[in-house]
Symmetry: C3
Subunit: 328 residues, 3 copies
């Protein structure tokens, strides 16, 4: 915790949603709200981070995630540099710390880090020098905080304050950095009730301790839910035979129109993407009127702009920074 | 047709030169003319597309073509993102449409699409949401409209109005998206006479129907031509043994200084590049005084800037937009 | 020489530090000094090269070097395009000269060239058209002038004028383009004494002719040195068994704290990076109080900005160009 928050409460890095004070969570969402307006205009750009350098440091390739951070940085007028570590630099046998020291010495302002190992972003945050921010873009099974924040932002936009809401997270909770970050963000924001729905083999032990209700039966878990958050089935992350087959998974935990009837009549359906149609979601649900999946993507840019602007320190409140001005 | 043109005549996408009204073709060339001036200055940049995002979506790698679009976008002050689909994203099994929906949701303004399949750009254009433009950067054997437009622009600059001109297109007409787009653009602009010169095996059936004259004999076809447009021999696109050998091809259809004597004394020589020296063109012709091959490349930037600025809607006439002002 | 300098003394290209007049070397360092101030600010950007296009043309991959040039160009507000020739373009059989002609025709202003062959940058410089500048980012065993200049800049910043200094270069002199460029830069700037320390097998014949003193014994060579410049052991560049083993190399030529005692009490330690810890340098020395290795990296951005701004012609003196102004 202390790694990402300074004693005065300032957000220095964003590594996890765990332990983030409610005020900070709310401030990120409020800041994202102010950027949403900018993104609706034809000139989708503010000069907030002009002359700052943000490095996308991807140890695990992800065109999709990298693209969202690159767009967010461009729209803040930052300079962006993509370093695909998997395919490039460490070929000369440079250590991770040496690589960091060098990039820091080039006077970069932030690293957006994606890594296959849990804890990698925090490791890097512990070692960067003062003034350099680290944003976790997904580390192993540990955390994916910007995804969780954009989900929370989407729920707040679609359903209003989280206090009265019942939110169900469905799927492979065990292997999901997204689920872990969602639970912390939603409870941190005061969500009324957070449920997890999964087969026992895909549930972490003691998951109840986080403050969620556990359901192994999909129908029971969906009952009256205001929000259904489906997880992506991370086939590549499964080890051994935790699941019999995709079709059996769909039969037990796939979201169909019929199952949706159990939820609140105004419920919304979410998914972090990309959707495996017919595995997690019936295509009619994925593309149906309750799906806000594409709005999550749109909101993802605004939320990432908010996180970047907050950790880079220049930003406290949209009204202070002349966001509405036409930038030069 | 209706896909790229709106009922009011506005150019929404650029997919093909086929069926483009003469006024629109002329407007693109006139707009390119206004950008040509900008590119001659040391600050080769106008603020026309500031805050707009253009995505180069290349399903088929082409550093050369991507570079021209990237430079054109930079010089309009747009933000550019390169997505090399061949090597990256669909690895997670995301469908093309899901990928498009996601990129659209990130509030991109245009896709520049290169694809090995004919019709791919139109398919994408049919599915993007309102407000997003598609520019075809080459789809299979179908079309390569920006190449054809830069060729027409080059001819107009070098030789004046197209009405009195005789233009010969030489080479593998059958497999060439460039030839197809050139024929439509040149005839659409009112060129006096368009000839195609090729062995029978490399001629599409019924090519005459497009309004061109067909020659299987190079010498006859070059007689009195004002412009000779050589095609690249797309070896990779040939299936089976349509041609005996490269040297025989050169003997029958290669452009030599001797053959050039048959053309008009002021004729010019064009090629879309990269040139296979000694296969399509004698090196002395490729680098000789009549060659305008490198001017085609220069003009390509201005023409692509024109297309981008027109489909992105902000642009109608150089004099209206303060192009001559020093951008801030 | 005449390739990089115009008759009036203007620097047209930067290919080598050999033969660069002392005034030009000093001017580059002075210009870099003025940029250093900019880089310390939060808005690390000046509008000096707005609307100019710089192409990183890397025939040999080097994420690290490319990154420094890309950052330098961004901070001058230039547009940058990365072309990784190794993996891309020449696949269509395009010759190097054709590729250059094409990129020039796109109205690029400078090429930053990295190539495995000695002389490649000069070859390109001899063939580009007037108005296009070439910056050598390392060519074979020949030269790496920006590295040498940033080293000289670092020495001047840390130790003051070079005249009274004794500078020792240690390691594989034979294969090192860095060493060659350092020797020319340091002697060109009037350094008091430049020594090279290496086993005989890693010394070029007649190296003395360059004006350096040669030591095969490390301890003798370090005696009283003000600056120790360690070279990277270019294992990939060694052919045959010039060295018995890395550990033996370290035993004879590795820089340890004990050996450092022979140098001047205020001596500094340099390395072009990335460091092979335990091969060239004891980790305690690499990370110790005398090491200025990371400051070299920081200075590298300012020096590359200086070189770009000088060869691109817009820049003569920080005070003339309103560097201190907040750019629009």
């Amino acid at each position: 915790m202390s790694v990402q928050l300074e004693p005065n409460g300032r957000l220095r890095h964003l590594l996890t949603t765990e332990g983030l004070p409610r005020e900070m969570l709310t401030r990120i969402l409020d800041t994202a709200e102010s950027f949403s307006g900018v993104l609706g205009k034809s000139v989708k750009k503010v000069p907030l981070l002009r002359g700052r350098t943000i490095i996308n440091l991807f140890f695990e390739p992800s065109t999709r995630t990298r693209t969202t951070f690159e767009l967010a940085a461009q729209r803040l007028s930052a300079d962006v540099l993509n370093i695909d570590v998997a395919t490039s630099s460490t070929s000369k046998g440079e250590s991770l710390l040496d690589m960091l020291r060098n990039l820091e010495a080039m006077q970069c302002d932030a690293f957006v880090v994606r890594h296959a190992d849990s804890g990698a972003a925090e490791f890097i945050a512990r070692h960067v020098r003062p003034g350099v921010a680290v944003i976790n873009a997904g580390d192993g099974r540990h955390a994916h905080p910007t995804q969780a924040l954009l989900d929370a932002f989407t729920i707040r936009r679609e359903k209003g304050p989280l206090e009265p809401l019942t939110i169900a997270i469905v799927g492979d909770i065990l292997h999901s950095r997204v689920a872990r970050s969602q639970i912390h963000a939603l409870l941190g924001l005061g969500a009324g009730q957070v449920r997890v729905i999964a087969p026992r083999t895909l549930l972490p032990r003691d998951i109840q301790r986080l403050g969620v209700r556990v359901y192994e039966d999909m129908d029971a878990g969906l009952e009256g839910a205001d929000v259904v958050m489906m997880l992506r089935l991370q086939r590549e992350r499964m080890r051994g035979a935790l699941l019999p087959s995709e079709s059996e998974f769909f039969a037990r935990f796939g979201l169909t129109e019929k199952r949706l009837e159990r939820t609140h009549p105004d419920s919304i359906v979410m998914h972090p993407g990309p959707v495996n149609r017919g595995v997690e979601l019936d295509p009619r649900v994925a593309d149906g009127p309750r799906s806000v999946i594409l709005r999550q993507v749109t909101n993802g840019i605004a939320v990432r702009m908010a996180v970047m602007s907050i950790v880079l320190g220049g930003y406290s409140d949209a009204t202070e920074t002349g966001l509405e001005e036409s930038p030069s």
